[in-house]
Amino acid sequence: MTGRQPTPNPIELVCQELVELVTEYLSGGLSPADRVRFEKHLLTCPPCTQYLAQIQSTRALAAELGPVAPSAPNGDDVDLKLADLFRRWHHKAD
């Protein structure tokens, strides 16, 4: 962030460090002390808060992706093939 008057505190995270810790933060992998430093930074840093929101939007969009474009052959044909595969497997296993 620019334009703030206070002097940077060397033991606090800077934005460039925070962006590398986002995945660990979201997975609960940060140590309690690092988690506090992370959250303390967010409290005073709108750009990092925005960055975290971007990562969360990325995850949410990924979760909404539907099935991949259907691959040939078509679905009904695949279902029939798999049903046949199952019958043959069970017959062989008996």
């Binding site: 620019t2 940077p8 962006v19 590398e20 840093c45 750009p47 971007q54 969009l61 991949v68 069970h90």
Partner: protein, 213 residues
């Protein structure tokens, strides 16, 4: 699915219950296809992988132990089937070598130019605010965003792609992804971090393109 449900499903399959198999296919076929497409780019070849994986699962059913869920066990079979599928064409690269390559990549989550330089009073702080991701309000925009996201995922190195597909698209936990791929959790987290960072950057470019003043 709980362990008990998994045990009931496996018992029904062993009895030859076709409805149980059909339900299992309906439930997991989309994920099977997505996982196969990470490793095999041709749609026809991916369809073969999916079918081979179902057969491998049935034939290996006796070996299913309830230490993992049926879902992670099945997805692990798809990954192995898909990896082995390309073996005829090119030597199968060991998983450990893929992990070393993809976790050892140089490159920060966000380009260094976006932060104040070392010489600056606020070294390491953002120069400009990252743009918000607007919620696309038109169907066409949503479709374009989805296409951009699919392309961004497809452009990732294979393991990063696989980890983001398992964790963020299919919603599995990091631990489940580790079991499926046989990678250590520290490596899984590095792979996921690299994948998400790159995909975020692509979406940011997509969403802010042409919208800069």
């Amino acid at each position: 699915m709980t362990g008990r449900e998994d045990a009931e499903t496996v018992a029904a399959l062993r009895r030859g219950d076709e409805a149980t198999f059909a339900a299992l296919v309906r439930r997991h076929q989309p994920a099977f296809q997505r996982i196969a497409r990470v490793w095999v780019h041709d749609a026809g070849a991916a369809a073969e992988v999916v079918q081979d994986a179902w057969l491998a699962a049935l034939e290996g059913l006796e070996r299913f132990e309830e230490r993992s869920s049926l879902r992670t066990w099945l997805y692990g079979i798809v990954v192995n089937t898909a990896r082995a599928h390309g073996r005829a064409a090119r030597r199968l690269v060991p998983m450990s070598a893929l992990v070393a390559d993809e976790t050892g990549e140089a490159g920060p989550a966000v380009e260094a130019e976006r932060f104040q330089p070392e010489s600056h009073h606020w070294a390491g702080h953002w120069i400009d605010m990252p743009a918000p991701f607007p919620a696309p309000d038109r169907a066409l925009e949503r479709q374009e965003l989805r296409a951009a996201l699919e392309a961004a995922i497809a452009a990732l190195p294979v393991l990063q792609q696989q980890v983001i597909v398992l964790c963020d698209v299919e919603g599995l936990t990091g631990e489940e992804a580790c079991n499926i791929l046989g990678v250590a959790s520290t490596n899984q987290r590095v792979l996921l971090h690299r994948a998400r960072s790159k995909v975020r950057a692509v979406l940011e470019r997509h969403l802010t393109e042409g919208k800069q003043p």
